[in-house]
């Protein structure tokens, strides 16, 4: 009875400054079971798995692996306990080879304590054959595609013969064939008795392959469903806790105004081909598609961050030859998806981060910043968006994900944009703040601003967009109007099936 479960996580709690990520979560996974873990952005899935993987220390709770108490103080402990982790974002070292990444910190030793590269290469080849991969052991990981990098991570996890395998959003960058191959691999693993934890936003996949599913919401377990109980609508209602229509603002009354942004024949070498679209005042254009299909490059090219050919005009002004500074002044803004690395300046305060793109508006003679005006405008935005901070001089690094996202939004609002390009509006944002962000975006459009929204969150894409452009292979392959699209249709288009 005690060994029925490969893994038991009991009462796991974790709080980060400003946000309670997990509040007493129980998770039990049986041997040989494929256990789905679902929940909205910020529900706590990643935090829970990071606890299991030793990357985060819980404030409370116990972990039992096959009935025995496990103390996981770091990734090495987790590995020793038989936990394998395939991360959402590539967690590999680009300067090293496939072989070196797969065997890092657990290299095979031959005689005299030397590295036995041949043995390691052979193991990789063996696994290649078994899994259907085609990885060259000495290829540089930095040169591989995202899908191939994921194969490397899976290889690394499996080489260690894990008892528990965690996969975080594994199919985001995969095409249909690769997805099927992954499912075959997982099926084989579970037959061998490995417990698999499968985190995904793609509910159809979870419904298809999971034996049981646990739903997280706001850092707590809503419930665990047995195989026969698993159904998409049930999952959604558990995840969301309310009718879909309530989270997303009602935009049925919105009629778009004049054309603000015109993009004609945009070409980014090797990434985007002949892209043309327009954005009208008060409109939300949603952009969807699989990872790496050129959407991000397109958006960044429109903003001027990426070299491209084609024509871009904003409210009649041709911006094709202009740099980013000029485009910002003309009324174009771009909010990056990567808050940490290219969004916020973590060494600066809230107010200084917020005014960073609008300095051209807030500077007086001799280049002196009009501090009073700056602070007044920032304060106004903070109140308007309900950003929770001790003061506007607070260091931005200590804010919660949701508040940080709002500070970035505030930054762009301060530039008085006409069109705002938003890349992943709610990445890493907890549920409470997400509704708030949606309301803000909605109110922006009612003030006449046009929004282009790139998102990998299907619910968000379907719920918020007035129009949806689906990308595949660097082109828009399908356009859907509000109400026309469903999750299945969008996924089909995103996979290149029309």
């Amino acid at each position: 009875m005690t060994n029925e479960y490969a893994l038991e996580m009991i009462g796991i709690a974790k709080a980060f400054p400003g946000v309670k990520a997990l509040g007493g979560v129980d998770l039990r996974v049986r041997r040989g079971e494929l256990h789905g873990l679902v929940g909205e952005n910020g529900a706590g899935k990643s935090t829970l798995m990071n606890v299991l993987g030793g990357l985060v220390q819980p404030d409370a709770g116990r972990i039992l692996v096959e009935g025995a108490e496990a103390a996981i103080a770091g990734p090495a402990d987790a590995a020793r306990m038989g936990v394998g982790f395939v991360h959402q974002e590539s967690n590999l070292l680009n300067n090293l080879s496939v072989l070196e990444n797969v065997f890092l910190a657990r290299e095979a030793l031959g005689h005299m304590g030397r590295l036995d590269r041949r043995a390691m290469a052979e193991e990789i080849e063996a696994l290649n054959r078994k899994l259907g991969y085609n990885l060259k052991p000495f290829a540089r990981v930095g040169d591989l595609s995202l899908a191939q990098q994921q194969s490397v991570e899976i290889t690394r996890a499996l080489i260690a013969r894990p008892r528990i395998l965690i996969l975080d959003e594994p199919t985001a960058a995969l095409g249909e064939e690769e997805v099927e191959r992954l499912f075959r691999i997982l099926a084989a693993l579970t037959k061998e008795g490995v417990a698999v934890i499968y985190i995904s936003h793609r509910l159809d996949e979870v419904v298809r392959i999971a034996d049981r599913v646990t739903v997280l919401k706001d850092g707590c377990v809503v419930g665990t469903l047995e195989k026969r109980e698993i159904a998409r609508e049930r999952l959604i209602s558990m995840m969301v806790g309310r009718v879909l229509e309530d989270i997303y603002p009602d935009r049925r009354d919105m009629a778009p105004g004049k054309e603000l942004l015109t993009v004609e024949k945009l070409n980014v070498r090797g990434r985007v081909h002949d892209l043309s679209f327009a954005v009208r005042a008060g409109e939300i254009v949603g952009i969807g598609g699989l990872e790496g299909q050129g959407q991000r490059d397109a958006l960044r090219a429109v903003f001027g961050e990426r070299a491209a050919s084609g024509r871009i005009a904003l409210d009649g002004v041709d911006l094709t030859r202009s740099g980013m500074a000029t485009r910002i002044r003309a009324g174009l803004g771009y909010m990056t998806h990567d808050r940490r690395n290219e969004g916020l300046v973590l060494t600066m305060s809230l107010v200084k981060n917020a005014s960073l793109a609008a300095l051209f508006r807030l500077t007086g003679p001799a280049g002196i910043v009009r501090k009073r005006r700056e602070r007044a405008e920032v304060r106004e935005r903070i109140d308007g968006m309900q950003i929770k901070a001790a003061s506007i001089d607070q260091m931005v690094v200590n804010l919660s994900g949701g508040n940080q996202q709002k500070v970035m939004l505030a930054r762009w609002l301060l530039t008085r944009p006409k069109v705002l390009l938003i890349d992943e509006p709610t990445r890493g944002v907890d549920v409470g703040a997400r509704m708030s962000v949606y309301r803000i975006i909605d109110s922006l459009t009612r003030a006449g601003i046009g929004i282009v929204m790139l998102t990998s969150d299907m619910m968000e894409l379907l719920g918020l967009s007035d129009r949806i452009l689906v990308f595949y292979g660097g082109r828009v392959v399908r356009e859907y109007a509000r109400g026309e699209a469903t999750e299945e249709l969008v996924i089909r288009s995103a996979s290149g099936l029309g």
Partner: protein
């Protein structure tokens, strides 16, 4: 066949830099052979090689530290320190005491490396400051041991260490040994790959289970030991100890590593490149001496060479698709 070569290049982009230096070395050497009489004599070539070896040895160590993402500004002072220890303790005819002296040199160096490693990894002071302060302290200690160049290194021992046979010499053998050992450590033990890993991205490396602190300390210790070997070579060549002899070696070792394709950002580098880089620097100095170039112009040329090397290395990068607008 072509595909295999391309693959090998893709795996180690630094190969490009190594080959470049090799080509430069060959060109320099051949042109000197044509121009100068002295190059045609075995013993002059041997002398030239021996002159380059001390820098090559210490560059090996600097390369390791830089690959791991750090930098060691105390290697020069370590060299000076070990020559003073040598000159103080090797002024004797007893082989046992000489052996002890060698042991003392390497033990002192190991301690220095350990302290550097601790300062950087445990006390968390940036490598630049840690090794800089260590350099100042060691310089003081060296001057305390020997305020002016002096002491004496036993003649037989010194001759033994510096002996030559035609083109070959003991220093060359020592360099080769050091190179082979470091090569072994870097490419055949569990210390090697983690060094590259922590230099590239310590966070990811840690999440994959690499013990960052332990690996980093090892790099500093090995570098210091190599500095001690350099000190041994210099002490035997000069037959005295000199508290200031190592001063230029710090920057030169970094220059040699940079010329050899090691990136100061970490995670990238080939020790063969650094060794070749040191030889290139030594050979160019020698060439300029023979050509009667003003000693002072050599500074200008050394600096320009480095800039040139950096430009050449950035060419492969520039040939890649230019994706980002200004």
């Amino acid at each position: 066949m072509g595909a295999k070569i391309r693959e090998k290049f893709a795996a180690t982009p630094q190969l490009f830099s190594v080959l470049t230096i090799l080509a430069l070395l060959a060109v320099t050497f051949l042109s000197m052979c044509a121009y100068s009489e002295s190059y045609k004599h075995m013993q002059n070539i041997s002398k030239l090689i021996v002159q380059c070896i001390p820098l090559a040895v210490v560059s090996l160590g600097q390369t390791l530290v830089v690959i791991s993402g750090g930098i060691d500004l105390s290697l020069g002072a370590t060299i000076s320190l070990t020559t003073t220890i040598a000159a103080r303790l090797m002024n004797t005819d007893s082989p046992a005491q000489i052996a002890l002296a060698v042991l003392a040199m390497f033990a002192a160096a190991a301690l220095v490396g350990l302290l550097n490693g601790v300062g950087v990894n445990l006390i968390r002071v940036p490598p630049l400051i840690t090794t800089l302060c260590m350099s100042t302290v060691l310089q003081g200690v060296a001057l305390w041991i020997m305020p002016v160049p002096g002491g004496k290194v036993n003649r037989e021992f010194a001759t033994f260490v510096m002996q030559k046979w035609g083109v070959l010499s003991m220093p060359l053998i020592l360099l080769a040994l050091a190179y082979l050992i470091i090569h072994f450590v870097l490419y055949r033990t569990r210390t090697g790959v983690p060094l590259y890993a922590i230099g590239k991205n310590p966070r990811i490396a840690a999440s994959m289970g690499v013990k960052i602190r332990s690996v980093s300390v090892r790099a500093y210790v090995i570098a210091a030991l190599l500095a001690a070997l350099t000190g041994l070579l210099l002490a035997c060549r000069m037959r005295v100890g000199d508290p200031l002899v190592g001063t230029n070696y710090t920057m030169d070792s970094i220059t040699a590593a940079a010329i050899g394709g090691t990136s100061l950002a970490g995670g990238v580098g080939l020790i063969s490149g650094s060794v070749l880089g040191s030889f290139l620097i030594g050979m160019l100095s020698n060439m300029m001496n023979i050509l009667g170039v003003d000693q002072f112009y050599q500074y200008v040329l050394k600096g320009s060479l480095l800039v040139l090397a950096m430009i050449v290395y950035s060419i492969p990068g520039m040939l890649g698709v230019k994706r980002v607008a200004k």
